[in-house]
Structures are given as structure tokens and as C-alpha cells.
Amino acid sequence: MVSSEQVPVPNEANAFSERFRIDTSKPLPEFSTPGGDAYMVVDAEHPDRAYYALVHNPAISVRNTVFKYLSDDPVASLICPIERGLMNVDLPGGLKQRLVTIFERPTGGALLGPKGEVHPKLNTGRLRQSIALQLLKALAGLHKRGVYHRCIRPTAIYFANKEGEDIVLGECYSTPAGYKQPMGLEPLELAFAQEAGRGQGSEAADYYQLGATLQCLYFGEMLWSGRDRDSLLTARVNQGSFWALSGGRDVPGTLGVLLRGLMADEPEARWIAADVIGWYEGNTAPKRTPMKSWAMNRPSKFEGTAYVDRRLLADAFGRNPLAAAKFLRKLDFPMWVQQSLRDVIFTEKLDRALAVRPGDTMGAGRNAEFEMVARVCMFLDPTGPVRYKSLSLFLDAFPAVVADAFARDDKDALAALDELLDSAFIATLVDIAADKSGRLHGHSTALRKYFDMSSSRQLGKGMERVLYELNSALPCQSSRFKSVWIGSVRQLIMALDRLAGAGGGDTAMYDRHIAAFCAVHGLDLERYINQMAAAQGDPARFNTIVAEFFGTLQAQLKIPSLPNLTAKVTQGLGAAIKKLRSKSRREAVEKLVEKVKKSGDIARLVREVNVSRLSHEDAAEFAQARQAMIQIERDRMRLARKMTAADPEAQQKGLKVARLIATALAVFGLTLVIL
């Protein structure tokens, strides 16, 4: 992208007026998250108060509902957002307009630093006596508001002040739930999914994270760090998460009881708030829950490894789908199911749904192998994520996974996501998992309306549209807006005006991101987007629709003047006006356009110079003029030749006049006879 296509940063964008001043020379890495970088901030009104500013990453969607709940009604022992707004921030890449959220800054320091350094005031007694209870209070407060934290990490818990009495839990609004949380800190039921694909989770997921975090704080280590994903996952399945994460080290005493309760791998067996309070009061009755059996009756050897656990086998299949397809095609699948999974009733319906057929794959569809593996994975691990090609996600994490794929410009992942949005495929997965995971059905229903639009190549549709439909808080991801934050159609139109002023923006409306963003965030703009899509091959018509589009937007948003965009639009209309065949009409329109151009009012331009209607009239009148011209040419040809006495017309007319004379003579003769 050439630099002239980059929207310049606006001059006046500072939502906090002069109150907050961000000092980007003082980064605060302990408060940074995947959703943004934290910096020191000075409050001009209350210089004694400690704040930090989180400069958001435009590729990651924030949790708007969490902001609303927490800014209106803050939760104790949790870092809650105070204010947010757009601001020009001097970042390493230059001045950029970014969404900035101001948080109150705990000054006591992180319990476990970003590099794993343990806070000197952290000890087992404090962990057991106050920290666990304060974290529990923070979680209870969040859950009461219907919000799950899902980002609890030992590095994101801080002493509120230098005294080190109170602690606060890090914020949970700057990233989607569970986004890029280390796998060891995610409960086992969600840990099989990719980093962005773990979904909203539940209260139980928060309590697991609390337990794992306390365990890390107890040992003073980032227990997940340096651990291989597959071996840690296998250890968690085989030994339980508590033992796997601690590396076989026990936590003695009552704290160990608490951690084992919180880190139970079965969500039903996991401790929740009431159990933790009971633990504080000395009532530690263990939860008795029926244990699910994930073990197979006999191990299956795949890629040199013998698997006994269904979830691990599904994970191995999902991570190597082509080898899995080959493996499955070689099996007598119904026999394998009967021998390996004796508790499964392998019905004909299930056999048809799984459709694993032995033999080669000649004639099968392009993705048939991947789809077959995805079906088998869902059969083996019905409560687990959907595993398709490189993806491994829960369907409620679809928004975050799409945003992540766009942020990484991962075309393979986007293509796989598009293929996943197939009604028949999803319905089969739901059928296979239905008896054990009803939530898959609910999430697939929510995605139903995107099934048709995802694969469309039309402007304003495709995966870009799915991205903005699912992530309403995400700013426009167009490469033109790298330096600015476009969170609304108003901001977009103002940015395009600046871009036009800088000499760019000629092809802005051909940008798939801009079109999709407008279709989602604009009011009744989809009609124009569809018309633009239909007119892509006709620049004159396309520019006419673009003018109408901007005119409607300017009127809707009551923006008084868009001088640069008006000039650009009129320039675009030039082609359509030049196509007007009537010279007088063309000259009149050009004169009018020049007059309106100075006002910067596209709405007026469209109102007074309706090029669509004029083109329509012009075409109709031109057709009439052509007919008239054809008639004139025909008459001219006829009249141009020399008239002779032999000409039929001369003959006819001459003889008729002669007959008139002869008749007069005959009448005269008759009169003589009578007289």
C-alpha cells in the first residue's frame, strides 16, 4: 500500500481533553495484555492518583459488555476501567490514533513479574489467608454481573499498594474470553482448543484458572512456561491437571486441598464459590460426581503413539488430519468402534453420519478427508472443540478466531473457517455430538445466518462481513487505517475525507473491509453496497452510487461539510457526467457540480445532481434522437437524388394534375352542349 493511501491521523482527536497525558516513554509491561500495551499516565485533575493507560491493539476485539458493567459498577479487588476514548498516541511506529482505556493502577507490583520474579511480600500464609479470599470476592462480584473473567494469570495479580495488604486482579476487558491464555491455565475441557478458540467458558473455567494461578503463586513459578503442549496435555489427561502442572510436587496442607478442588478436571467436581467458602470455614467435604470414562477398551496406535484416551486420540487426529484420514480409511471402522469403544452404541444412523469408508479417496470432494476426520474427532470427543484442518475451536469462539486469522493474515485459516460455515457439515457435527454437548447446537444456530454470506466474493460480503458481524467492537481492519482507529461509520467517513485531502482514496470503496464495515455498522447501507458490487465493472455507475452512498451518510450523520470527499466524489462523478451525451445537459450539470463542490455538501450534490436519473433520461432521449436522425438521413437520401419525369411521384402527381385539367375541359365541353 502506498503511503498516500494511509489515512492521516486527525489533529483534534483526544477524548479526554487535557485530563490524561500518556507517557509512552514509560511502558508498564506488567499491565500489558495481548489486547494492548500499558503505559504510565498522568491525571492533570488529580495528580496524586495512580492510573495506567492501555493502548488497544486494533486487531483484537474488546469486551464491550464487560466495559459497560464494570465502568458503571466496579467490582472490588478487580482492576476496572474508568474511562476510554480515542487519542493520538506517540507510539514507536509514529503518531497513531488509538482507543485508550484508563484503569486505576495498583502500585504494589505484580505478585509474579512478567519474567517470573516473585514479589518479596508473597508467601504461603498470605496466599492461604487473604489472597485466595480476595480473588474469590473479585470473581464472585464478576459472576454476579454475568461476566466470566477468563484471563486469570499469576502475572496479572497485583498488590494494591506498597503495604502489600490488599491484592487486585487484572482487568478482563481488553481481550476476548480466554484469548491466548497459556494452555496450562485453561481447564482441561477447553485446553484442547487453539489459543484464540476457547470460547466464553463458564464459572467453572474461572475457578480452574484461579486454582492454577494460586498453584503458580505457591511454587513461585510460571508452571506452564517451557512445557511442551502435547506432553503437558497428555500428563493432564493421565495424571490430572493438578499433578501435571506441578510436575508431581504436592502442595501440603489446606491450601493443597483448595487447589485440588479448584483444579479438578471434571467441571462437575470442580470447586465453586460455595466450596471455597466452606473450605475457609473448615468444611471440606469432597464433591462426589460420577466419573466420565474417556478411556478406550484397547489402545489405538496412531503415528507411532498408542492412545488410550479418546480426547487425546481426537487431538492427535485433529493435529494431523491427512495421516488420520489415511489411518481411518485403512480400518474396518465399525469393527474398530465396537472393539475400542464398547460403551458406544454404534447405530446405523451414526455410521451414516460419520461416513468413514475404507479404500482410496478417488472421486471424493476436495475437503472430504478433512471433513471425515472432523466428524470422527467430534465422535471421539463430543464435548471438545471442532477440529477441522488447522482449526480447533469451540463455535462460541468463532468471532475471536476469525479476528485472529485476519490479524495474522492467515488465508488458510480463513478458508478453513469459510468451509466450516457450511450448514450440512455443521449439522452433521451437531448430530454426532448432540447427545453429549447441547451447546454446540446453540452456537451453530447463532452462526446460521453467516452460512451463505461467508463464501460470497461480492463486495460487502465474504469473511470480512462475518468478521464485523461477529465482532461489533472491532475497528475497521482496512490497511488504509493502520494509523487511525475506525470504530464507527462517522469516524470512517471523516477518515476518508482526510484521506481524500491527502490525495488518496480513489479506490477506497472497492476495499472489502470498508464495504463490509459499512454494511454492518451503517443504517440501511446494504442496498448501496449491493449496488456497488453490481456496478464494479462500470466505473461511471460505481462512482455515481458511491456519491449517493456518501450523500446519504452525510445526511444521516448530519455532518455539515466534507470538502475533500466532495471534491473526490465530484471527480469520480466526472466520468459519469462525461458519459452524458447531451451537450447542453452535460454543460449544465458540470456547472452545477462546480457550484455545489465548493459547499462540501455531498448530500446536496446528490439531491441537486442526481446523475443516475440524468443518465437514465439522457439514454432515453438519446435513443429518441437516434431514431429522428435515422429518419432525417433516410429523407435526405431520398430528397438528394435528382427528380425526373420518370419518377413515380412525379408521374403520379403530374398525371393527377393533368386529369384535373382534362376534367375541367370535359366539363366545359358538356356545358357547351347543354347550352
Binding site: 456496478a535 443518465s615 438519446f622 436522425m629 419525369a645 398525371l655 386529369r659 376534367t663 365541353g669
Partner: protein, 167 residues
């Protein structure tokens, strides 16, 4: 086969010629006149010979019109002869050279009219065409100025834009 027969019948129907249509009328007129004046009827018979000739010999799409012109002129000459002094003395018409000359002069005038009518008409029409041509050239120029040279080229692009105008 029935259709062929039908077509044949249609082909065999002939439009009666001008002579065939007028001859019974002419004979009726001669017979009627003979009751009152035999010489006048004789003069009519002999004097109208040029007309009878053209009725049966004229060809082309304007044959009827030519026959009418000659016939009416011829009739004017015969009527002038009938109204002349020779009728009053009841001379045998075969010797009435004055009457016959008058009748044939009428026919000759008719032939002149047949020949000269189209010539004069061509001259008059030619002058009218020049004026009309000037008007058309002016209209053509106006259209070219308004719509450009495109109006002269190729087939007319009459497809109007049917997409909604938007506002």
C-alpha cells in the same frame, strides 16, 4: 390439394382492365345518344377512337390515370364538336371533318398532358425537395451539435439504466 386448388382459383381471378370496365358504359352512352341524335352518336363513336386505343394499349401502374386524362380531353373535343354548327345541319358524321378534327385535337391535348404532366411535376417537386433538404440539414446539424458525432455511428444504444437511482 384443396389448398392448391384454392390458390389456383385465387390466381385465376383477374382484375378487370379500365377498358373492360368503361366499355359497357361507353356503349350505353352511344346507344342512348343514338335515340336522340344518330349523327352525334356516330361522332362520339368515331371521335373517341384515340381513347379506345389508349385504354387497350396503355401499360404501367399509371395506365388508368393516363387513359382517364386522354379520355376526358378526347371527350371535351367530342362535346365541343357536337355543340358546333355541323350538328345543326345534320351532316353525315363521316364527312364531318371539322368535328373529327376537334375530337382528335382534344385527344392530342390529352396525350400532351400525359407527357407534360410528369415533366412539370418533376420540376416543381425538385424545387420543393431543395427547400425540405435545407430544413433537414439544419435539423441534422442541430442534433449533431446536441448529441455529438456518436449519434451518426453504429446501432442506437437504447438500453436505459434500470438500476435504482438511489436517492
Amino acid at each position: 390439394m384443396a389448398r392448391r386448388g384454392g390458390n389456383k382459383q385465387i390466381r385465376m381471378r383477374r382484375v378487370p382492365s379500365v377498358g373492360a370496365r368503361l366499355m359497357p358504359l361507353f356503349l350505353l352512352l352511344v346507344a342512348g345518344l343514338a335515340i336522340f341524335s344518330m349523327p352525334a352518336a356516330t361522332l362520339l363513336c368515331l371521335g373517341m377512337i384515340p381513347t379506345i386505343v389508349i385504354v387497350y394499349t396503355a401499360t404501367g401502374i399509371y395506365a388508368g390515370l393516363k387513359a382517364q386524362v386522354v379520355g376526358l380531353s378526347n371527350l371535351a373535343g367530342v362535346l365541343a364538336a357536337i355543340s358546333g354548327p355541323s350538328q345543326q345541319v345534320m351532316n353525315p358524321p363521316v364527312f364531318d371533318t371539322y368535328g373529327l378534327a376537334l375530337a382528335f385535337a382534344g385527344a392530342a391535348l390529352g396525350y400532351i398532358l400525359v407527357f407534360m404532366g410528369p415533366v412539370v411535376a418533376a420540376i416543381v417537386l425538385q424545387s420543393f425537395s431543395q427547400e425540405r433538404l435545407r430544413q433537414l440539414t439544419k435539423q441534422r446539424q442541430t442534433l449533431i451539435e446536441q448529441w455529438g458525432g456518436e449519434i451518426l455511428a453504429g446501432p442506437a444504444e437504447t438500453k436505459p439504466d434500470h438500476e435504482g437511482s438511489g436517492s
